[in-house]
Amino acid sequence: MPYIIDRRLNSKNKNTVNRQRFLRRYRKQIKKSVSEAIGRRSITDMDRGEDVSIPKDDVNEPVFGHGQGGERNFVLSGNKEFSKGDKIQRPPQSEGGGSGEGEASDSGEGDDEFVFQISQEEFLEFMFEDLALPNMVKRQLADSSEFKMVRAGYSEAGSPSQLNVVRSLKSAHARKIALGGKNRRRRKELRLELEALIEPLSDKQEIRKAEIVAEIEVLSRKLNAIPYIDEFDLKYNLTVKLPQPSPKAVMFCLMDVSGSMTEDIKDTAKRFFFLLYLFLKRNYEKIDLVFIRHHNTASEVNEHDFFYSRETGGTVVSSALTLMDEIITDRYPPSQWNIYAAQASDGDNWQGDTEQCVELLNEKILPCVQHYSYIEIGKRPPQELWYSYKEIQSGIFSDRFDLKAVQDNSQIYPVFRQLFERGVK
């Protein structure tokens, strides 16, 4: 009889490890593909899989084989017009002497690239590899909201769902041995003695036999009276709550949506924030995001409005900073939160406002944030805001302030990486 086995429910992806090995080996090439893809894609489909192509030579595994040349004899099927002695002109170079052995046909397609697909998960993995928020500190060690359940041995009391069957039965067994040991030993002796009495029996022996039988009965009753399992035996798995120190973090995203921001620039800015958004969502289980957009006034919006809705007006950067400061005071006390901020703008600002911005940053915001990054987008020479910010960077908060200029979409990802590269301050 054959065995017919249903393996369909078996674990998926037996080859995951091999696949990981492959991706690991070609990590450099894949990263390149990923970073190109990020520049190319619109922000609405930033997070899906991607086709990666690697030059075939790179993935080739060399083996000894025959090259072109020498004399080759081979058989083909489907002769129509040839007869013995016919001479056929060689086909033009590339394919050489025809594809007699099947190997040649593979390369006949002219694919020089080994193409495969990486999943969305892997795509994001490569995208954000080695990135981390700088200067993250664990605050609020005693924050009572985070607990982790930890095994802590066994207990005599507990709920039935925590009952440890093995432990309980072991304990019952031990108790039975302890309580009945003496009686059981005595009964065993008596039984041996009983067996030793061989028929026919003398009177004395008869009496002895009756005694033995009676005693065995008493002992057996005693032994049977020992309960199989007692409340006393029950053992429960014990778990205790351990408070977990949790790093709490909030990220402020500040974007200029004023009239001077062209659609292109806004698109670039949104790409930057979208990368940031994906990165944070993926890497930090608990992180708050605050989206602030501003023209001459600032408002806090949800992520959808932030990325997809339009609005225009003049530019007063300090409005956004003021709002941010208010929100920090209201909701995110720096003693409990790691605060991050990223700001994107084309560098335009209302005359005279820049000074106020610098003051706000230096006085109020920078002292309480872990990191603040500013990107200026556009092909124009740097604006007033840039120069003022440059000064902040060389000031006392140089450890937590960084600024970068970006010209177009293709630079977003490299700059993003520079800002959040692990190990870089």
Binding site: N18, H66, Q89
Partner: protein
Amino acid sequence: MSRRKPISTGSDWTFELLEQYDQEIARIAKEKFKLDTYPNQIEVIRSDQMMDAYASVGMPVSYNHWTYGKKYVSTEKNYSRGRMGLAYEIVINSDPCIAYLMEENSMTMQALVIAHACYGHNSFFKGNYLFRTWTDAEAIIDYLVFAKNYIAECEERHGVDAVESTLDSCHALMNYGVDRYQRPVPISAEDEKVRQKEREHYIQTHLNDLWRTIPDTHKQIDEPKRVNFPEQPQENILYFVEKSAPHLEPWQREIVRIVRKMAQYFYPQRQTQVMNEGWATFWHYTILNEMYDEGLVTDAFMMEFLTSHTNVVAQPEFDSPYYSGINPYALGFAMMTDIRRICENPTDEDKRWFPEIAGADWLETLHHAMKNYRDESFVEQYLSPTVIRKFRFFALEDNEYKSTIDVTAIHDDEGYRRVREVLSQQYNLSANEPDIQVHSVDVRGDRSLTLRHHQHNGRPLNDETTEVLKHLRRLWGYDVRLESLKDDQRSWTFATND
């Protein structure tokens, strides 16, 4: 024969139906056609599991390596793009014989696959002399498990990268890790573990002797007598590396051995493609037709079966865009069918060409052919003029010194023998693969290793040669050279030290 009720009518399969079909197929295969098989283990799997099986070249268990990942991603890509279909089945030469069936198959396809794999391939694995001598169906799964665990352990101890690069180098030489003429010792996972320890110790001490560097003053006086090492050329390069490479760690030697064993296990399969597929195809065709004659399957079943069977044995012509060499299923099936025809209804031509089998018992003749040949000799022995005409085979000569490609034979009286000979050589592994052997080691000098390639019909080596030598150098530890000999004259030298 009285016609019976069909086993099933719809196209959906169930496990009960699989069992019933299997019973009938087994009955016909065993009682009527005397197919002797290992017990079967039929496993139903999903298509992604099939891709897994593809990636690990059909091995049910295999060690981890990026090359399997590479195969997997490329299969996955082609399959999801609809560029390729998956095989309906994969069958493993083991005892019990494991066959994978895809859940997407219809009942008809499942029956076809059971007949094809579980009785066709299975009986071939059990009967053919190459498989009998070179592989050990009973031990292979255990050995694969041993290999997987061993390599995983090495990765833990020596790091993934070190293991990976050793494996890369071994894979490059895998085709040169087989004993072509000498029967290997049967493998067993149990013994393997014990022997491995002893081997490590023995080889290490043995090597020290070979590479003794302190000069022996006595010997130096009568120097002139030069000993060639190895004394005889070695065709099994990996074996030579395992036994003689001076600087390999014991675990690396074990890995070389594992790859070598794997190569040896697959060696018969590479030599019997046409026969193996032809045999299995012939039997699924014959068995299912028998079931139809007995009334066990419906007309609709037969229509579906024949459509699929016809696709399997289609042979595109050489100028067709679908041409990719000679289809082993087509040729094998045609030859097997033809042998039966020659036995049952020989023509005068057949009697002249095959006096010994014309009119003989066909079943016995086929079993004999299956047991005692491999592709090369099978074609040489049994390719009949009828089959040559059917495929309209023609032989060509491509000589680099001529400006044209010459037709040397076609399907006519004059040409049959030539076509048969050339086609047979086309399946000769030792002519298809360059003949490269370990020639010598400069024991007293720089310890470099020299390989020799004897050119076959003046055919040179390909561009990858130097890359392969680099891999060999990694294993050997010193420079490696390869001399390519044309008519015993050295025509090229490849080396790793340039």
